[in-house]
Amino acid sequence: MTCDDVRMRLTLLTGRELDRVALEAAEAHLAACAECRAWRDADARLDALLRTVSEEAPGSGFRTGVMARVRAEQAPVPRTWWRQPIFVLQGIAAAVALLFLLSPSGAEAVRDVSTVAAEASASSSVPVAPSLEELGAEISAIDVTGDAAAWVVALCAAALAGNLLALSGGARRRLGALLPCFAMLAILLGATAAEAAQPGDEAWRSLRETSDFLRIVLVGVVLAAGAMGAAAIGIAVRALAPSLVARADSVAAARSGVYQFLVGLFNFVILLVLAVLLLRVDGPRRFAGLLILVAMTAVASLGVAAWVRRIGTAILASADRGRSDLGRDVAGGLALAVAILCPFAGQVFFLALLVLSFGTGLLGLILRRSSTRPDKHETNEERRHGENDV
């Protein structure tokens, strides 16, 4: 260790960074080097001098002054919900969906879905994890009065009203109301991917009967694709709309209450029904359905990005690791994909969960141990945003 190294260490490892162990080598050097001892004495005098300088406090009128200027500012976000584009989008989507369902063709579509779902569940002889058809069948069980369309319309109206109510509150409530919509979208994407990955019905069934291993591989592939997709959505949306996602972030970090869950669950049920219907119809109706899905995707991706980051942050924090935003997004994406795809994975899910929980614990131990070592500087894009502009 050179004299410069020693002095650097003694200078830097002070205050909150004080590290007795790391200083031991430096102390040993001091005992042997008179020059460094003289340096240290001079340095100690500087410390004594700095201690005589106390903390500065602003004058008593400071806070009042700041608040007066803050009140004179425009609010940092528009306070009225109708000025926020994502809520306009959702409103339009809900209105279009409602109109569609009110039309005769909408009611017809509901009946179609009920029939298809009933046939699908009846013809399925092999007990498997719930598929999209079975989900549809469960939803069509709403058909107590024999007219599903009426129920759907009623639910839609209620959802729309619920949305308006939620939107009139603070940003927290607004987002809370939307969160389950995001979850629904994610499930739909997962389900569509699973359906697309499914080879012909016969082949799929024989595959299921013959090989659990192949099934695990297939689920693994879908899982990985889903994780990458979720992470990619997060990263892309973050790059495209940083301020909107940051707002979603701060809201997501601030609260996660029962209120959010209940309001959101309502939206979730409603939009799930809509989506199942829209995926079943053809021609122009399908086009309208796609438009709605696109609008919903726009809304949902913001929330997905915020949630992916938040989940990833929580996971990485539990492993005492988590400085890289990319790592947060990828970890969050993986966890979200696991959660989304579990209904389609059946027992494999439990296996995966087992592996994941043990694996995370193990990984956490390893990372915790190694994270005491100094690591390379990581740039942080998020913190670069917006300090210089007014």
Binding site: T11, A42, P58, M67, A254
Partner: protein, 215 residues
Amino acid sequence: MLDADPRSDAEVVAAVLGGDVESFEVLVDRYERRVFSLITRMTGNRDDAEELAQEVFLKLYRGLDRYDPAQPLRNWLMRIASNHTLNWLERRRVETIALDPNERGEGGLAWLAIDPSPSPAARAEAAETGAIVAAALATLPDNHRLVFVLKFMEDYTAEEIAGIVGAPRNTVKTWIFRAREALREELARRLEAPSRGIDDDLRRRANATDAPDRA
């Protein structure tokens, strides 16, 4: 009362974004001393520092929707404060060069608070010390002064400082080390020959600050 507010920074930010502007006062209350301290030590002038600190909080408010709750708010705020102060120092330098060089001392160095001491004599001495430290700090380059103040007077870690000033960690470590070496030499020089080390303007200010206490 404001001190007792149980909400976390992220929750307060969310409340402000939700339309509760008054909650912003909680953040001002929590961080005004930190921000003001840093700026005073950077500019050496309380009046300028107060104005700059107000602007910093205004900037925080305007950019609140871009706040990432995964990062501590105080580091983000210190980043805003650092950038704003550095920009201001740079601007002032350009402006004062254009002015009459005799007027240059006006916005300059020379004020630091000192701990209250028992006797007037000790207080005068401490005022002298504070002024000398301030004067020595003012001789450092802006970025060196910034990292020095953050590390040794505000107790941030090198890692946090790297995030605040937006420079690689190893660069920041070098700056801290060099700043400390330079400051120590500068102080040694000034303490050995105080009458030559401090300019008249500084001496006048130190006396002016101390005078009301003696009366």
